[in-house]
Amino acid sequence: MKMKRGLKLLALVGVLSLIIAACGGGEGGDTTTTAGGDEETTTSAAAEETTTSAAEGTTVPAGELGTVEVAAGEPIKIASAQTISGDTASLGTDQVRAIEIAIADKGEILGHPIELAFNEDEGCASEGGQTAATRITADPQVIAVIGTSCSGAGVPASNVITSAGRVLISGSNTSPVLTSDLAGNEGPEHHEGYFRTAHNDAIQGAAAATFVFEELGLTQVATINDGDPYTQGLTSAFEGAFTDLGGTIALSTAVTPDQTDMRPVLTEVAAAGAELIFFPIFQPAGDFVAEQALEVAGLEEVVLMGADGLLSDTYVVLPQTENMYFSGPQTPTGDAYDEFVAKYEAEYGEAPIQSFHAHAYDATNMVFTAIEEAATDDGSGNLSIDMQALRDSLHGMTYEGLTGSLSCDEFGDCAAPNIDILQNTAETADIAAVRGNILATYSAEQLGF
């Protein structure tokens, strides 16, 4: 009898531990609980609000996505959904700062102050993106969302935010699934109303592959992703381009983001005879790959290469990342950018900490321009902003930003990017130095896009 109860208890414990394991996937775990229940109600509430305000909008013919009314003196609300805690915090914090600078620079739109109504943490995870988007869309006055930082969070966020009739514009999502493969095929997670000023990883993958094949002269490569849409999209773009060039993908494998023991997978890499490991993942898994690659027999000479997700101030200072190659968006040049960096340094006391601040700044300003175009004033300072007109305006816009000339294609890709290949050496002490150590630059045209 006693035994039986003991076993029952054990079974219960087992089930409980599985539940905890499922909930505790990351730091976003604590916030996810609120998401599930609220999600449906809030989005439908938001949708309702939109239709009512559309019905009330008497002066302007309302588009089918509804309008947002901003009364005289009321602020125009935008939101941010970036990763601002945990290991990927530098990626999001960098962009939140850029959004704040953009708001301060702009001052006001058509006489209305601009308010960053939400600064949500998407935690670089799908659940975080879902939660952040759900919270934001609960406020029908929010016109546009700048985010997300990570493509993994962008997948649910794009769905929730565009379904609510709002636009989501990201400064650092790069996965092809969110837009298209740049060959005319719509990505499976593309939704109308999603835009981005960051490059599409079809280009970054091709740039990295071209560099490895032509400049480093290596033909046997192993790729490691972590199952996230960003890392998967980038490794598959790399693999496609590398095979087209004539190289061989010795091994295409994956780890989990919370994995610490990379030695078994690296043993497989050694067995496959790879000369280079391309692992566009995040920290801390990226720390372990670089650290343990040195220790696995057969990988003493292997070349390591990461991508923009690892190009952060906390990664390049690790001793094991010395001599590692990175691909990433080109650092903008020009007076406007220098002025922006000066403001950034004055405000936050350090140089930009990641690669996508300028993209987020441009994204925010594109939204401002689009709001100005889509808004109609009733003469007494009350604004009516048609959400369909806002999307149309973004699609039709050619915006000269810090990162170059931006014009959005039908799937929301706005950038005509240049990709830099960088190397971390003993001399490059911080992220700014690494970003300055450019070995090659590839433009989209050069790569055939």
Binding site: I20, S252, T253, D261, P264, E295, P319
Partner: protein, 362 residues
């Protein structure tokens, strides 16, 4: 049909007990074994990995597994005396690892770190053990002692609460960022033992874990305190009647479990030199799995369970999954680990060494 034939050959009394469930279980066991054996055959015969690489995978598994084993001891000992799973134990481990990080970081700036690595390592170990022991004892005093005598589910839920409390206290104290352990130059590179090339850090981890576990085993089997622990574990009421202070004994059990977790934390820092406030969760769950795998409540079982789980995780994906050409099989190592748990429990429902416990208890 073959199962039926073998079963028929058994004595009549056994045959009378054949139920559809037992036939299903046997079919499942045979199918699972066949899948594993065929996958391993495919994988080994493909010649993808050299013998040295297979051996390396085993060594990686043993070193991770010995850390699991050290943590698992805390789960299994507490289960032995109190019959509940102390889910806060993973956090006790994390606190030890955190303290090890801060002490190691401070030491790394001194000459002691490079001139006498053994002394520095001992300091780090002692600091981690002291911290983990204190946290384990405090948790017992605050969260579990007031619940003594309550239904067993209640301390179980409390332990989950304690786990989150410790996690977020640590987050509040040291922040959410990931901390990188300082390197020790003497522990870098490899060494050769009996003709096998092993990473030095792994030698340290395996040796330290073995020493701790041997010490613990002797302590429990040979000392008066150990005897009182075994007595309380067998029957707390009779033990109390025999003059054993049950509360004191339980505190000692928590303290020893905490000390083992502290050692594990410091060793973890040597093999996986980066950690954050959430780092205790996964090793904790793995250690709990190890304890169940080995037969919960059994000390030697926890050690065996930990090392086996480490080996399953490390070798399993390459051995079984690779044979079936499953893409990106390394990502599935946790699946392999938990599937191995299920398999072992199908064959031995009480765990690898669970029988002794079951006999003692009935």
């Amino acid at each position: 049909m073959t199962e039926a034939a073998t079963v028929d050959a058994r004595p009549v009394r056994r045959a009378a007990r054949i139920t559809p469930v037992s036939i299903f279980l046997w079919a499942l066991r045979i199918a699972a074994l066949a899948i594993i054996l065929y996958g391993s055959y495919l994988s080994i015969s493909s010649g993808r990995l050299s013998a040295a690489q297979w051996r390396d995978l085993f060594v990686f598994g043993i070193s991770t597994g010995s850390v699991y084993a050290l943590i698992a001891l805390g789960y299994t000992m507490v289960y032995g005396v109190l019959r509940f799973i102390n889910f806060a134990h993973g956090e006790v481990f994390m606190v030890g690892a955190m303290m090890a990080f801060y002490v190691a970081n401070a030491l790394a700036t001194t000459t002691l770190w490079t001139s006498s690595p053994v002394v520095s390592l001992l300091i780090v170990l002692v600091a981690a053990m002291a911290t983990s022991t204190s946290v384990a004892v405090i948790v017992e005093r605050i969260a579990y002692r007031p619940l003594r005598g309550a239904p067993r589910l209640i301390p179980l839920i409390t332990s989950i609460g304690a786990s989150f409390t410790i996690q977020y206290l640590v987050r509040g104290l040291v922040g959410p960022s990931t901390k990188a352990f300082p390197r020790m130059e003497q522990l870098r590179g490899t060494t050769e033992i009996l003709g096998v090339v092993i990473l030095k850090s792994q030698v340290v981890v395996i040796v330290a874990a073995l020493v701790m576990m041997a010490g613990l085993y002797l302590f429990v089997e040979r000392t008066r305190t150990g005897k009182s622990m075994r007595a309380v574990s067998e029957d707390p009421e009779t033990a109390a009647l025999m003059g054993i202070d049950v509360d004191r004994t339980i505190v000692k059990v928590f303290a020893i479990g905490g000390a083992m977790a502290g050692v594990a934390g410091a060793l973890w820092g040597l093999v996986f030199p980066s950690l954050n406030f959430f780092s205790g969760f996964l090793p904790g769950i793995k250690a709990f799995t190890s304890a169940v795998l080995g037969g919960i409540g059994n000390i030697v079982g926890a050690m065996l369970g930990g090392v086996s789980l480490g080996i399953f995780e490390s070798v399993g994906p390459s051995l079984v999954l690779a044979g079936y050409e499953i893409p990106a099989f390394s990502q599935l190592k946790d699946v392999v680990a938990y599937a191995a748990l299920v398999l072992v429990l199908i064959f031995r429902p009480t765990g690898i060494l669970g029988e002794r416990l079951a006999q003692e208890r009935t």
